[in-house]
């Protein structure tokens, strides 16, 4: 029962990440997603403070999480951009400075308000064993939201990735869609936060895309295969975790296993690809020459 729930939640997280991950990587925003995954802790803290004071919301209510995601995306984007534009800091340093500072603030915030150091650790590590039915509900809403947004605005996102100039000429509000992508990324990080922790979301966002990229080159297929690889890793990860517990009495972190599997899939992909190249290499290059 719990295994089924874990599989479902992790797969939904994988679908969330698979649909927006390719756009993030193509827009060179992977490290920005890393910042987001750190700063949502502060976002959640702030949102919790607001929600609990104004309408008595709990820490994991959907409204709290939505506000948290919005706050985190706004804070991160504003600060990182602000440092580059107004304080004239180089980009890598401004990304690094913003997320370490905000994460430190977030950890302090959480520790002071909850008097609980473990919440910080748990936020970083994630814990698939505490998933409940409500997590399944919020994960499905998130997945639905991500998939439908990407489906509706596919053109705009695609143009934003490949040719900002063309997008603007065609009247696409690139800034708006850039922020929409950020917001979705923040939401996804928050949705995954309980299941896999803030840091492992990154593997879900980047890993499946890199693996898919070894084999296919068209964006729709990349999105499909990124999600599929993520789902495969999630299901296999939960099974492996169960197997280790049953046969070796070893309780391993499920989220961690899934991420390691994503890494291994990439390594396997590289080997398969290089094997294929050796076998068909000459034929392939000849065919490309003719083109």
């Amino acid at each position: 029962m719990i295994d089924g729930l874990q599989m479902a939640v992790l797969s939904l997280v994988a679908i969330c990440c698979g649909t927006i991950g390719p756009f993030l990587v193509l827009k060179k925003m992977a490290m920005f997603a890393n910042s987001l995954s750190h700063t949502i802790l502060l976002g959640i803290g702030v949102a919790y403070l607001i929600a609990s004071h104004l309408w008595g919301g709990a820490l994991f209510d959907l409204s709290t999480l939505l506000i948290g995601a919005l706050a985190a995306a706004l804070i991160t984007a504003l600060f990182t951009e602000g440092l580059v534009r107004f304080l004239r800091l180089q980009e890598d340093a401004s990304v690094g400075l913003v997320f370490t500072a905000l994460f430190a603030l977030g950890i302090t915030f959480v520790t002071v308000f909850t008097k609980n150091v473990h919440l910080g650790v748990e936020a970083v590590m994630g814990n698939a064993d505490i998933l409940q039915g409500s997590d399944l509900k919020s994960a499905s809403i998130l997945a639905l939201l991500n998939v439908s947004t990407v489906f509706l605005f596919y053109r705009q996102f695609q143009l934003g990735c490949f040719d900002q100039g063309l997008a603007r000429t065609l009247g696409v509000k690139t800034g708006l869609f850039h922020f929409l992508l950020l917001f979705l990324a923040a939401l996804t990080c928050i949705g995954a936060f309980r299941a896999v922790g803030v840091l492992l979301v990154l593997a879900f966002l980047v890993g499946p895309y890199l693996t898919a990229r070894l084999f296919c080159h068209r964006l729709p297929w990349l999105i499909f295969w990124s999600s599929a690889i993520g789902v495969l890793a999630s299901i296999a990860g939960v099974l492996l975790s169960r197997h280790m517990l049953d046969f070796y009495d070893l309780a391993l972190s499920t989220g961690g296993i899934v991420v390691v599997l994503i890494g291994l899939f990439y390594v396997a992909g590289v080997f398969i690809q290089s094997g294929r190249k050796i076998i068909t290499g000459s034929a392939l290059s000849r065919r490309q020459d003719r083109r």
Partner: protein, 435 residues
């Protein structure tokens, strides 16, 4: 219970964490300088996370081999962290060069997969070696309080190693940072130097893990140099300042963390406190550094704008002889506040007399106005005659140049145009006044 500030440096329990934090932060903030100048700051983020599985596996092996040698476990932490960070570095290099992944994708992929591996290893350790697991969990956010004098010896030595290397290779390092191709052609061992630099980054990252923690270690590589860069353009000074800021944040962070736990009974983890101290210093420097800081830059911009406004007003009144406030406001399109302030300053300078809201110039003001008009018309003539520029452009360019032209340039222009009397629009050019 209250402790005097100096006791933090000598008290047998408190001194180890204090000196430990200072030395570790010194090392990471020094190595941060070349990394920052190479624009690879985010590498430190991935590498510090990549150290995590090594830490866990190192401690586990150590616990299995020497179950009673708890005092020396930090050696296992260091070796394990070094090996796994090095693997992380190799993986990133492979992904960027052979795997054709973009740099940011490679960094975040390696970061998360290594960290995932660490989490799996940690969960395995939790059930098999629960006591040791607790110790490793501390390393996520750093805990300085449990350090002993032995730790300072180890960490201090490594911090000194990093500093000594940077000190000894300063010249070739400087050359390779500023002009890589020149250094290669001058037969400097640039590739070796870069390799060693990355190794030193690894060392200072894993050394810092004890006090700042895996998750936030990169902050200590980035923040001090960001602050230091604001104050100087000389590499030596940036190094010294960065080291100073790093050590200062180590000191402050540890101090706040200890004070918080003693007098406020808050469990403030050391790592976040140190990083908060460092990033506060960085943000303050970004805002208030004398030359490059935002506040002073804005002040300089406003001072220049104000001067331009004053000079434009002088010119306008010089041409009309008297002008009403409302006319000035209409012609110059600035807020009433700015206009009032500019007029007030001009009155104080003694250039302007205010008679029933109508302004006229004093002798000083007339002189100043004439010289501005002279500069404007001289420049117009120069553009038209010597550069062959036609039409609208010359007026607009002259509007800007009149505020920047120096007396020396004015003299050269006068000579070049052989002391002209009229400008291209047949307006008279006021004579130059003897000073």
């Amino acid at each position: 219970m209250s402790i005097s500030f100096w006791e933090f440096f000598i008290h047998p329990v408190l001194r180890a964490p204090m000196w430990g934090c200072i030395l570790m932060c010194l090392a990471s903030s020094l190595i941060g300088v070349p990394i920052f100048l190479k624009k690879r700051s985010l590498l430190s983020e991935s590498l510090s996370h990549a150290a995590y599985p090594g830490v866990i596996i190192g401690v586990s092996l150590f616990a299995l081999l020497f179950p009673s040698g708890e005092e020396w476990v930090s050696i296992a932490v260091l070796i394990g962290a070094f090996i796994s960070s090095l693997l992380g570095l190799k993986a990133i290099e492979w992904l960027e060069q052979k795997g054709k992944a973009r740099s940011d994708a490679a960094l975040s992929f390696v970061l998360s997969v290594f960290f995932g591996l660490g989490i799996v290893a940690a969960s395995a350790m939790q059930s098999t070696l629960p006591v040791w697991h607790k110790q490793t969990q501390m390393l996520l956010f750093g805990q300085a309080a449990t350090m002993s004098d032995l730790h300072i010896a180890i960490y201090g030595a490594m911090a000194l190693l990093v500093s000594a290397f940077l000190f000894l290779t300063f010249r070739p390092l400087q050359a390779s940072l500023f002009d890589r191709n020149y250094s290669i052609s001058a037969n400097l061992p640039v590739a070796l130097l870069e390799k060693i630099l990355f190794w030193l980054l690894l060392i200072s990252l894993i050394v810092g893990i004890r006090s700042v923690g895996v998750v936030l270690m990169s902050g200590m590589v980035i923040a001090p140099v960001v602050a230091a860069r604001q104050f100087s353009e000389k590499l030596q000074t940036v190094f010294i300042l960065s080291g100073f800021f790093g050590a200062l944040s180590g000191l402050l962070g540890n101090y706040i963390s200890v004070i918080g736990s003693i007098s406020l009974s808050l469990t403030l983890p050391t790592g976040p406190m140190i990083v908060l101290a460092a990033s506060s210093i960085a943000v303050l420097s970004l805002l208030f550094a004398p030359k490059r800081g935002l506040v002073f830059r804005m002040l300089r911009v406003y001072a220049f704008r104000l001067r331009c406004l004053e000079e434009n007003l002088l010119k306008a009144i010089w041409k009309k002889e008297t002008a009403a406030f409302s006319d000035l406001k209409k012609d110059h399109q600035v807020s009433s506040m700015a206009l009032k302030y500019a007029l007030y300053r001009m009155k104080k300078e003694g250039w302007l007399i205010d008679q029933n809201k109508s302004f006229s110039l004093t002798d000083d003001g007339l002189q100043k106005g004439a010289s501005l008009v002279r500069l404007h018309r001289l420049w117009e003539l120069y553009l038209a005659e010597k550069l062959g520029v036609q039409g609208e452009h010359i007026h607009n360019t002259a509007e800007e140049m009149e505020h920047i032209l120096t007396p020396e340039i004015e003299a050269r222009l006068t000579d070049l145009l052989s002391d002209p009397t009229t400008d291209p629009h047949s307006q008279p050019i006021p004579k130059r006044r003897a000073r």
